[in-house]
């Protein structure tokens, strides 16, 4: 992997990197915010902040976790700055949220609903892991938790989703 340099062509390369990763950043932001408009705002701010801080990114292979971290921070910052109301999960579907939009596969739709209804403390590490490709150690670092706490949260998140997938829940862990 070539290192990121910061000349004119490097700027284009960085822009290309942002564009490549933008879809997953938007998905991540949507799962964090549970609101399409907020997610788009978060990603827009993320792209701008990333562009301004691009010299901090020494290795393009690290771009994905770096950008996911910025999305998390921008999401938190947006709520702090605008004092947005917390999303009432019962109203998400009524808002026509894209994550709950019409889906030919009813099972997938049920699973999306169930993920959407997971508590933040379970949903966020799960999305970081499955969508973001983070390891449990990276999630622990990102969320400032112990790795054992991350394992427990991930276990419980999946355990709640097992029944939606037609599986018996596993015995809980302490």
């Amino acid at each position: 992997m070539k290192p990121v340099s910061h000349g004119t062509s490097a700027g284009a390369a960085f822009t290309r990197l942002l564009e490549m990763l933008r879809p997953d950043l938007l998905r991540f932001a949507c799962w964090l915010a549970r609101d399409r408009s907020v997610a788009e705002d978060v990603v827009q701010e993320t792209m701008i902040r990333a562009w301004k801080s691009r010299e901090e990114l020494k290795d393009p292979a690290a771009a994905r976790p770096w950008l996911f971290t910025i999305v998390r921070r921008e999401h938190a910052r947006l709520y702090e700055r605008k004092r947005l109301p917390l999303v009432d999960i019962e109203s998400v579907e009524a808002l026509g949220d894209p994550a709950l939009a019409t889906e030919a596969d009813a099972g997938l739709l049920d699973l999306r609903r169930a993920i959407m209804q997971l508590p933040d403390e379970y949903r966020e590490p799960l999305v970081l892991q499955v969508l973001g490709g983070f390891t449990t150690a990276e999630i622990a670092s990102e969320l400032q938790l112990t790795q054992a706490a991350v394992l427990t949260r991930l276990f419980r998140a999946r355990n709640r989703l097992r029944t939606i997938y037609g599986l018996a829940p596993a015995e809980d862990v302490e």
């Binding site: 998905r27 792209m47 939009a101 997938y165």
Partner: protein, 218 residues
Amino acid sequence: MSTTDCRHARLHIGAAPHELPAEVTRHLAGCTECSRFRDETLALDARLRSALEVPLPRFREQAPRPRRLALAASGVLALLLAGGAWFLNPKPALAGEVADHVMHEAGSWNRQQVLSPAEINAVLQQAGVKFDTSLPVVYAIVCPFRGRHVPHFVVQTANGPMTVMLLAHEKVSARTEFSEHGLSGVLLPAGDGSVALLTHAGAVPEGVAGEIVGAVRW
């Protein structure tokens, strides 16, 4: 096998089925119940990935709200579009849709960990397709595409990662090469369907293409 071992194994399997410590892997070799739990969890994870990969065109159906930094953001993105040499190379609709789809999952090329046969089979079973490649598979997911659910893989080749989409319901009459979004791709006839291959590293090598098409059974 002790209950403690099983509880320890299930915590790790349920939390991170792709990241099992060595002692759990050893435990699985001798514990049928935990192996079944692992297989179930891997199948669930394949569905989870599909669920989390929210189709993005739906995000864009509604008009975005005005934003104070929209101009700056569009300026950033315009740099990419300015390099759109692909306009010089007209593409068939299917190729364009494949390339668009792959761009929406561009993060798949960052995957490094080789998936297990169980993980790959979970995806293939969902799609009802057989794919017996010798290439290391680092990404496997069932994706909605043109109203169907198709297997979407990334395999590692000598030239870097390559996307493989198995399109059982898309027949193409002949090998069709295309360039889109800076990607090189090829659509290949494969029985009653087709296979789409895309790479960043120039043209798709004939040998790899032949190996992949030969590994597909609808």
